[in-house]
Symmetry: C2
Subunit: 232 residues, 2 copies
């Protein structure tokens, strides 16, 4: 039977610049009576990664916030009133260039990591070194979507997993060549993990157990090249 188990990692506590995030995650997993094993996917909201990396900015007023959004943007895709849909330097397109004032001290904002794939790789290496388990790491953020209400978590960084499952040339049980060819598996993992993480509660990480995909992609692989994109 194909089966997944997903559990939230509670009690990580507030992360400050320079803290040992890998240790904090391992300790919190242990405190729950669990341990990380081979093929576990550790999913972490970018908030704690950004805090650990010092990607924080003080915001004195609304104007400073707006300026920060512009600093974090390489292009403005749409604008309506206070809402700016911007492209970040990574190529991600999201509200306010992902500058976020929740889950941080009032008067501060959290920015995206400079290179979230690299952050994921570093965290993975540290956890693997300490546990001996061969794991993967996915770093997430919460994005809106055109056309559909509500937000979902997506992957902005990954290490130890392919970003897409490429099914090109695969046939279904009827012998048809599949029309659906590329599944964004790390986005589906990010969404799945969010179901146990929550937005208001202090659960910034989760473990997804049972994923059998093999490969090593980057979350920036998911950025659709502008020439393929009908919606810029």
């Amino acid at each position: 039977m194909t089966e997944l188990r997903i559990f939230g990692v509670e009690g990580i506590g507030e992360i400050r610049p320079g803290d040992d995030l890998a240790s904090a995650i391992r300790s919190a997993v242990s405190a729950q009576g669990e341990r990380l094993v081979d093929r576990d996917v550790v999913v972490v909201t970018h908030k704690v990664v950004s805090k650990q990396e010092g990607r924080l900015a003080e915001i004195v007023d609304e104007r400073a916030y707006r300026r920060l959004v512009m600093d974090e943007s390489t292009a403005i895709v749409r604008r309506r009133g206070d809402l700016v849909i911007a492209k970040t330097r990574h190529g991600f397109i999201c509200a306010n260039a992902a500058v976020d004032r929740s889950n941080v001290s009032p008067g501060w904002a959290v920015l995206l990591p400079i290179d979230p794939d690299r952050s994921a790789h570093r965290l993975r290496t540290q956890i693997e070194h300490a546990t001996g388990a061969s794991i993967a790491v996915v770093i997430t953020d919460t994005f809106g979507r055109p056309w559909r209400r509500g937000l979902v978590d997506v992957a902005i960084g990954v290490s130890g997993l392919p970003s897409v499952l490429d099914l090109r040339g695969t046939t279904d049980t009827h012998g048809n060549v599949l029309e659906v060819t590329e599944v964004a598996i790390i986005d589906e993992i990010a969404a799945a993990a969010d179901l146990v993480m929550g937005k208001a509660t202090a659960i910034p990480a989760a473990v997804v157990r049972g994923i059998d995909a093999v490969g090593d992609g980057r979350a920036t692989d998911l950025v659709r090249p502008p020439e393929e994109d009908l919606f810029r």
Copy 2:
């Protein structure tokens, strides 16, 4: 500890118009040594629901396929070469108005159910009647997204769950009012279930256990009204 368990339901077999899908799902769950319990979410790909409802069309050639896509569309949002991004009568915006030639006999296409929320409600009622368990049902399809490569499963029908978790007015652990206010929980459930369902294999359903959301929404609640949408 917040925890989910997700398992695929194998051995449902090919579904034909008029078949008892609820029984087929229950039998397949039993054959795996499992049983449905209160608060389980049964996630089903729309393919088997559409087949059960006879939402199939014979396609003699490419031109017939194109005509069918037009018949299933209420608006064309973008077009490039063979790719048509269309709005369906439900308001969903997706490739080729969700007319799909995979996982069906060659020469045929599967259409979306006429009213997927109603289909979900019917399936839920039948399963609840037979099992005595109070469950939810999510019906899924696989959609592309602007800006991000790869496809993810989303909810096109639901019964027994809210479509979004409304966190408006909620504060985080720092006392900030949350900026992220509406989580599309049924889309996250659809994405999570796809991780065990697969596209090429015969696993058209999954059970998600551990969701504690309460409410009764519709998947069409997720259709963003045009006046709120910056990307038409």
